[in-house]
């Protein structure tokens, strides 16, 4: 059953349409990621689910109940904010206990729950500290613990890793995934970072300009993008798109290889002129253009670092190729089509 479902949600701020008719559901225990560029409406959608914003139209269901007219505290959701929203004047212990106190829970019960949540997230020893005495990673755990104690139907997370430094973000990401596997609570996670989305999500919903572009597992989204936007939003560098009759054709840079590396398979060849090469340690990125084809942007190829670059030199033409199975086709509107 769907833990959280939204139905044809629209939200207008004045003349600006932030969310433009999105329908989506997150199943019990599912990790759903809302992915999109800044200002695409993903945070607004999350705030609508939380009850912090009222939708202009559309329905929100939590645990099968329509909650449009229920205030945030009655919705059975917990939220973790981008800057965590910890109460600066309260100790860690009191921060975690706060949502239970507002429910008028008995003192012993509060103590038991706070200790359980703090233990699960490994922050017991910080109980008497205040938020300003904590590191970014510790703050994030406190925010998670505060969300966890309430036994919510769903967690709503709004870019909770964006305030951490790059190194910490990687470890926090895997901890978060671990945590979600442990508590098995439906989670809706907003991010603009595709690596986070791919790494965390059971399913990803790609949103742009207030519209839902595609929902699917990370591999569906990556391998079979529903349109040109999804194709070019995911992947670093993104999918190469080149014009063809009746639309465009796309292929991932890592599938665009010197022809001799693709022996045996059915391939489509492209004469490729390399303009420059970037060495990134584990791989080389080759930037260039195709002969006789108008590309929608610079064409890139991604070669593993161990692959030989012998004979590939900037300014010269080379025969590159893509396996036919790796080619994707889009129609004039940018939507995916099965065949050329």
């Amino acid at each position: 059953m769907a833990a959280v479902a939204v139905n044809e949600i629209r939200k207008k701020f004045g003349d600006v349409v932030a969310v433009n008719g999105i329908s989506l559901e997150a199943r019990d225990g599912e990790f759903m990621v809302l992915l999109g560029p800044s200002g695409c409406g993903k945070t607004t959608l999350l705030r609508i689910i939380a009850g912090l914003e009222k939708p202009t139209s559309g329905q929100i269901l939590i645990d099968g109940q329509v909650v449009n007219d229920i205030p945030p505290r009655g919705r059975g959701i917990a939220m973790v904010f981008q800057s965590y929203g910890l109460y600066p004047h309260l100790t860690v212990w009191n921060n975690i206990a706060f949502p239970l106190r507002t429910q008028g829970m008995a003192r012993d019960e509060i103590k038991r729950k706070v200790e359980w949540a703090a233990g699960l997230l490994g922050i017991d020893h910080l109980a008497q500290r205040r938020p300003r005495e904590l590191s970014g990673g510790e703050r994030q755990r406190v925010a998670l613990a505060r969300a966890l104690v309430r036994d919510p139907t769903a967690f709503l997370l709004d870019e909770p890793l964006s305030n951490l430094d790059a190194k910490l973000r990687t470890s926090a990401r895997s901890e978060l995934k671990q945590f979600q596997r442990t508590v098995r609570t439906a989670t809706i996670y907003v991010t603009h970072d595709q690596v986070e989305a791919m790494g965390l999500g059971d399913r990803i919903a790609v949103i742009d300009h207030g519209r839902l572009r595609q929902v699917g597992t990370p591999s569906e989204i990556y391998e079979h993008p529903a349109d040109e936007f999804v194709a070019s939003f995911l992947g670093t560098p993104p999918m190469n798109l080149i014009e063809r009759e009746g639309g465009s054709m796309g292929f991932r840079p890592e599938n665009f290889l010197p022809k001799e590396l693709l022996n045996g398979a059915a391939v489509v060849e492209f004469p490729f002129r390399v303009d420059r090469v970037e060495y990134l340690g584990s791989e080389h990125i080759l930037y260039g253009s195709l002969e006789g084809r108008a590309a929608k942007r610079e064409v890139t190829a991604k070669l593993p670092a161990h692959a030989t670059l012998k004979g590939i030199s900037p300014g010269a033409w080379h025969v590159f190729a893509v396996r036919e199975t790796e080619l994707r086709y889009f129609d004039r509107e940018g939507r995916r089509t099965q065949h050329p």
Binding site: R73, S83, Y84, L86, Y87, H89, F98, R130, R132
Partner: protein, 307 residues
């Protein structure tokens, strides 16, 4: 012999202003001078006069020890004044800041004309105290009081027995306190608006999600977070009120029968208008221990609440 052009050594004075050990003292000197001339000097002068028998009629310095202080403490006018000063200070703080808080909460809401409303609220600050107090003088006038007229019109006051706002001790005390609260009000509004806007939205949203209603959000989240800012407002307001004599002096001149004097106005009356500098200085110095205690207490509270 040809002279070889030698680079003249650059005058050292050229970089004088790059040297922090010179620039620092230079920049801070005006502030120190200001504090010394306008604060320290009068303060020590007051101590000097307070232990003398100095009056404008007998300008010979004669040391009398603590006699002036004992005289002052024994005087019933002074005792009344001391109580008045506390009523005046605490009353004006409570009324001014409390109303300031509510007005700030209203002005935080979105509504058409909010900009104009905010500007109007700050107006009492912009009006010179003497002009404003004159306006209040008319409002409290025994015959033409608009306050009494209103109370009569809505039937809360017997027209035959109108209140003499400035003619009865307790009413006059209320009047001066209210006028001073009115002066503090814009300050309270501005401080509270600054406080409210400093609370991160994430924290407020988190509290809403966590189930905190209006009251809990206000008194368990917002108020503790902005407490340090409010503390500064209270310190400032207290010192400002405790040492103020303009409202009392302009509205009641300390009357009726010395019933509304505060320390500042009594000291002015005794020391300057009556020429008894020694007793005036002694009265003035009573301000000092209270202010010292108040400031130490509040600053310590402030450091504890630092977040």
């Amino acid at each position: 012999m040809t002279a070889i052009a030698v680079d003249a050594p650059r005058p050292k004075s050229r970089f004088l202003l790059d040297r922090p050990e010179l620039v620092g003292p230079l920049f801070i000197a005006p502030a120190i001078l200001y504090v010394f001339v306008l604060v320290a000097l009068p303060f020590f002068l007051a101590i000097y006069y307070s232990v003398s028998a100095f009056t404008v009629f007998d300008p010979n310095y004669q040391f009398v020890g603590l006699k002036n202080f004992i005289d002052v403490i024994d005087s019933s006018i002074f005792q009344r004044t001391l109580i008045n000063t506390f009523i005046f200070t605490i009353g004006a703080q409570v009324i001014g800041l409390l109303l300031g808080k509510f007005a700030a909460m209203l002005l935080m809401q979105e509504f058409p004309g909010r900009g104009i409303a905010r500007a109007l609220v700050v107006l009492p600050w912009a009006v010179p105290v003497s002009l404003a107090t004159l306006a209040w003088l008319w409002m409290f006038d025994s015959l033409y009081s608009v306050i009494n007229w209103t109370l009569v019109a809505i039937g809360l006051m017997d027209p035959a027995r109108r209140w003499q706002w400035l003619g009865q001790q307790d009413l006059a005390m209320i009047a001066v306190t209210v006028v001073h609260a009115w002066r503090l009000f814009p300050f309270g509004v501005v401080i509270f608006i600054a406080g409210f806007t400093s609370v991160p939205n994430d924290v407020l949203d988190a509290a809403t999600i966590d189930g905190a209603g209006f009251w809990r959000r206000n008194y368990q989240i917002i108020l503790p977070i902005i407490a340090p800012i409010i503390m500064i407002a209270v310190i400032f307001g207290t010192v400002f009120t405790f040492t103020d004599l303009s409202v009392v002096y302009l509205l009641t001149k300390g009357g009726p029968i010395n019933g509304t004097h505060v320390l500042g106005s009594l000291a002015f009356q005794v020391g300057i208008l009556s020429g008894d500098v020694a007793h005036g200085a002694a009265i003035c110095l009573f301000l000092f221990p209270f202010l010292l205690v108040a400031v130490i207490f509040l600053l310590r509270a402030l450091r504890r609440r630092e977040i």
